[in-house]
Each structure stands twice: as structure tokens, then as C-alpha cells.
């Protein structure tokens, strides 16, 4: 348990650094799609809800978990969908000139 905790903290710290480095290089042009994309990725929380619902430990957990799956899945589907729609619109003037 203790080791797991330390491992997790290391992972968290490293992921934050990677996040800062990667996001810093995102063009300000794309800040809106960036936000909808990170939103979709963040909805990976759905996997926690899936396990909770699947284990059926209590009715309470199953009910809350199912609502959680609905909420997160709508972010996954909606988030990727709208990010894709946005990015399709970004065109350069160079190719058609």
C-alpha cells in the first residue's frame, strides 16, 4: 500500500511535467479544441465507474456508478466528436492558393 502510494505520486508528478511541457507547445489557435480534447481524455474516469458498476457491491454503488458512466461516456463521445468537427474547419490558405 505504502509503495503503491509513492509510485502513484511519482507518476502524478511526472505526468504533470509532461502535461506542462506538451500543453505549452499547443498553438493558441487550437486552445478551444485542446480543451474539448482534454475533456474527452479526462472522461477516462469512466473506467473506474465501469469496474464499480460491474462488481455490484451494493445497489447504491451501482446506481451512482451507472449515472457516472452515462456522464463520462457523453463526454467521451461528445468531446471527440466536437474536437474533430472543430479541427476539420482549420484550413491553411497555402494549398488552395
Amino acid at each position: 500500500m505504502g509503495d503503491n502510494l509513492i509510485d502513484s505520486l511519482f507518476i502524478f508528478m511526472l505526468a504533470c511535467f509532461i502535461g506542462f511541457e506538451v500543453i505549452r507547445h499547443v498553438s493558441p489557435l487550437l486552445h478551444t479544441p485542446l480543451m474539448s480534447l482534454t475533456n474527452a481524455l479526462d472522461a477516462i474516469a469512466v473506467i473506474g465507474a465501469i469496474v464499480m458498476v460491474g462488481e455490484r457491491k451494493s445497489t447504491f454503488a451501482t446506481v451512482l456508478g451507472t449515472i457516472a458512466i452515462v456522464a463520462a461516456t457523453s463526454n467521451v463521445v461528445g468531446g471527440f466528436f466536437i474536437t474533430d468537427r472543430m479541427l476539420k474547419m482549420f484550413k491553411s490558405s497555402r494549398p488552395n492558393k
Binding site: F12, A15, L37, L41, I44, V51, G78, F81, M89
Partner: protein
């Protein structure tokens, strides 16, 4: 038992791949050329992770999982099809959904484990629920304000900050007590309840112009709460995804608050609207120069370099497609037309870029503030459409102005400034704009869409 362990290794391997794909996904967002690969990487990572999770040996019943996935997809599709002008409120709503998921799982996890919750787990669990709860209601409030279901003006009252601090303090103290005394499970609903109320109180005093910062901040909180959930569930993929999302939200909110020359605390506890009474008094009857569409068309066609400055007003008037026609017709005449994008123009980071891209304006014509500011003295016409505070020269010179120090687009340095505006009312921040009274400024009074349309008609008929 061996078989179980085996499937666990497969799942961990899949999560490892998904983590790498998520990082690639964000990395490819660095340029519009590779950005769509980024979506594919994200989608594949997500599909793998969900499919892998379904292999989890503890899962004995798939019925409600399937119900949740199907219902969620059913809600997600229309949410992915909203108009581009509605993207800010959609984004706020999706932060609310993400936070809802995290909060519900955290709550259920607590009641499954109580009263035997180890201290460390209880502390991350409280963080998960506090951040999740306040992000849920805070984002709903933000979405309501953006959708104009709720008033956009800041709502403030005496002692607001004190009330907020006290409430938040009670939640944190209760959480600490619960960590030390896990049997005090009656505190959990209190912590959850306060977080939910706190989210509402946090966003109530925030006005429309501050929305880009607030949305980014809520984005960051949503990510951090997901990372906390990863700690609770000992799920490394979740920790990584949450950390990525959290750092993204925090970086964006730093960029946004810098672009408004304000600190985080100032955005959250400052309630911008309070200063307006002092600032807008005595600025009533100064003369302005106005022009008709015909005159503006003549000036534009005589120009060599034109910079268009779009703001939220352009989005409200749905004028972006007319602006595209204007761009086309001027470009055909050999005039160099570019767009100057202020970081906080619009209601969320990058909002203007998306609206203009939707109207088919090439992205290499959209120029960031720092890059274009030096070009204004060589610009013949700066055409301001629905932007106000981000062009206010008082931010450079008037120390008494509430926006003093905020980086602005130096449109006043252009040879001619044209401002399309409905009337002389001040902007969202309620601050008078001296730009309108300059000798080189022409006010074009009218609806942005109609006025740009009228200019386009003059330009296409007039040669």
C-alpha cells in the same frame, strides 16, 4: 487465481499503451497540421482502455455498464453537434459531467469502504469529492451564464468572500477530521454538500468577460479531481489522464489571467463589476466621428493593409460569415487582410479562432496579439467588430482604469480605426473606451452582421 492475475497484466499493459497514446494525442495538438492525428490517438487510447477494463476479473454483471455506455453515447452525440457559437457552454457542461462522474464514484467508494478507510485514501477521497463537487456546480453555473439562462452580470453581496472562505474552511476542516477519525462518516455528506454549494457561490460573482479564465480553471479542477480518483482506485492511467487535463487547465488559466493582467485570486474573489460605477461616470457627451457603410467601403478599398479585430460581439451577431465575405472581397482587390486575436476575445480560450475557422477563414491569417501588435502603425485600417475592452487604450495609459496594465491590441496606432458597434454603451467590464473619441476613429453604428453585409454590398457594386 493465476488466471485473474493474467488478465490483470493484460489490462495494465493496455493502460500503458493508452497512457502513451493520450500523451501523443496532446503532443499532436501543437499544430493544426497534426492535430487530427491527435484525435485518432486519443480515440484509440480511449477505446483500448474501455475494452481492456471490461476484461476486469471483478466484473460480474455487464447489464448496467451497457445501459450507461449506450445512454451516455446517446447524450454525447447531440452534445458533439452543437453550433460553434455554443461551444463555451458545451465545454462548461462537459466539465460538469466529468466532475459529476468523479464525485459519484468517490461518494460510492466512500460508502463501500467506510468506516475502514485508510488515512491516505481518505485524504485523496476528500480531495476528489471536494474538487469534483465544486467543479460540478461551478461548471453548471458557468454553462447557465454562458447560455444566458442565468444573468451574465456578476452577482455580489457584502461579505461574499468571507462567506466563501468560511464555507471552504469548514469543508477542509471536516475533511481533515474525517481523515483522522474515519468512524465519523456523518461528516461526509457535509463535505459533499458544502463543496456543491461552494461551487455555486464561487461562480456567481464572475462576469461574462472573465469566463475564459473560469472555464480554464474549472477544466483544471476537473482534471485534478480525476487524478485524485486515480489515487483512490490505484489506477495509473487515471492519474496520468487527470494530471494531463489538470495541467492543461491550469496553463490555460494562467495564460488567460495574464491576458487580463489579473491574478487567479483576483478573478475568483475580485468580482470585476464592482469598480465600474467609478470608471464610467462623467464620460457621456464627448463627440465621436461616425461613418456610413458607403464611406467605410471607400476607405477599405483604398487601403493596403487591413487588420480585423473580432470580439465576442461578432459571435453574438453571428457576423462571422459576413466577415468572411468581406475578407474574400478585400483579398481579391489585393488588400492584405489579417485578423488580430486577443487571448481573451470571446468566452473561452481560442473561441475566436474556432468561429473564424468555421467561416472558412484560413488559420494562417489569424494572428496572435504579441505577433501583430507591432504591425498596427503600418496598418491602414483596423476594423474592430464586436470587441471592446481588449482594444481600450486606457489599459496602457490611465492608471485609474480598472483594466490598467491589461495587454491590449494597439488598434489606436492604425491610420484609421473603424469600430462597428450597436451604440455607445460600455463593454462587459462596464468601462468607457477612449478609443471611440480619437480623431482617427470612425464609429460605424449598427448590427455587426448587417453593417458588414452593407460594406460588402458597397464593395461588390462599387467598381
Amino acid at each position: 487465481m493465476n488466471q485473474f492475475a493474467g488478465s490483470q497484466y493484460v489490462i495494465e499493459a493496455i493502460y500503458l499503451i493508452a497512457s502513451a497514446l493520450f500523451i501523443f494525442s496532446l503532443k499532436w495538438m501543437s499544430s493544426p497540421k497534426t492535430a487530427r492525428h491527435g484525435i485518432w490517438a486519443g480515440e484509440i487510447g480511449m477505446l483500448l482502455a474501455i475494452a481492456g477494463t471490461l476484461l476486469h476479473h471483478g466484473i460480474i454483471d455487464y447489464k448496467w455498464i451497457a445501459v450507461g455506455l449506450v445512454l451516455g453515447s446517446g447524450i454525447g452525440i447531440p452534445l458533439g453537434m452543437v453550433q460553434m457559437t455554443a461551444v463555451p457552454q458545451r465545454t462548461a457542461l462537459s466539465h460538469a459531467f466529468g466532475a459529476l462522474c468523479v464525485t459519484l464514484v468517490g461518494t460510492a467508494e466512500f460508502y463501500l469502504r467506510t468506516p475502514n478507510v485508510p488515512r491516505f485514501m481518505m485524504s485523496v477521497l476528500s480531495m476528489e469529492v471536494i474538487l469534483g463537487g465544486l467543479t460540478f456546480t461551478g461548471s453548471l453555473m458557468a454553462a447557465g451564464k454562458l447560455q444566458e439562462i442565468l444573468p451574465q452580470r456578476p452577482i455580489t453581496y457584502k461579505g461574499q468572500n468571507l462567506v466563501n472562505f468560511l464555507l471552504f474552511g469548514v469543508a477542509v476542516v471536516s475533511a481533515v477530521y474525517l481523515v483522522l477519525h474515519p468512524e465519523a462518516s456523518y461528516l461526509f455528506p457535509l463535505i459533499l454538500g458544502i463543496s456543491v454549494v461552494f461551487g455555486v457561490l464561487l461562480v456567481i460573482p464572475i462576469g461574462g468577460a472573465d469566463m475564459p479564465t473560469v472555464i480554464s480553471l474549472l477544466n483544471g479542477y476537473a482534471g485534478l479531481s480525476a487524478a485524485a480518483m486515480g489515487f483512490v482506485l490505484q489506477n495509473k492511467l487515471l492519474i496520468i489522464a487527470g494530471a494531463l487535463d489538470g495541467s492543461s487547465g491550469l496553463i490555460l488559466s494562467v495564460i488567460m489571467s495574464k491576458a487580463m493582467n489579473r491574478s487567479f485570486t483576483n478573478v475568483l474573489f475580485g468580482a470585476f463589476g464592482q469598480v465600474q460605477a467609478a470608471a464610467s461616470g462623467g464620460a457621456e457627451a464627448k463627440p465621436v466621428h461616425s461613418a456610413t457603410a458607403e464611406e467605410s467601403a471607400a476607405i477599405l478599398s483604398a487601403a493596403n493593409k487591413v487588420v480585423i479585430v473580432p470580439g465576442y460581439g461578432m459571435a453574438v451577431a453571428q457576423a462571422q460569415h459576413k466577415v468572411r465575405e468581406l475578407y474574400d472581397i478585400l483579398t481579391k482587390k489585393g488588400i492584405d487582410v489579417r485578423f488580430a486575436i486577443h487571448p481573451v476575445a470571446g468566452r473561452m480560450p481560442g473561441h475566436m479562432n474556432v468561429l473564424l475557422a468555421e467561416a472558412d477563414i484560413p488559420y494562417d491569417r489569424l494572428i496572435e496579439m504579441d505577433e501583430i501588435n507591432g504591425d498596427f502603425p503600418q496598418t491602414d485600417v483596423a476594423l474592430v467588430i464586436g470587441a471592446n475592452d481588449v482594444t481600450n487604450p486606457a489599459a496602457r495609459s490611465d492608471q485609474s482604469s480598472p483594466i490598467f496594465g491589461m495587454p491590449i491590441l494597439d488598434v489606436d496606432k492604425a491610420h484609421t480605426v473603424m469600430v462597428i458597434k450597436r451604440g455607445m454603451s460600455p463593454g462587459f467590464a462596464g468601462i468607457d473606451n477612449p478609443l471611440y473619441y480619437l480623431d482617427n476613429t470612425l464609429m460605424l453604428f449598427g448590427d455587426a452582421k448587417q453593417f458588414v453585409g452593407a460594406i460588402v454590398r458597397e464593395l461588390s457594386g462599387g467598381h
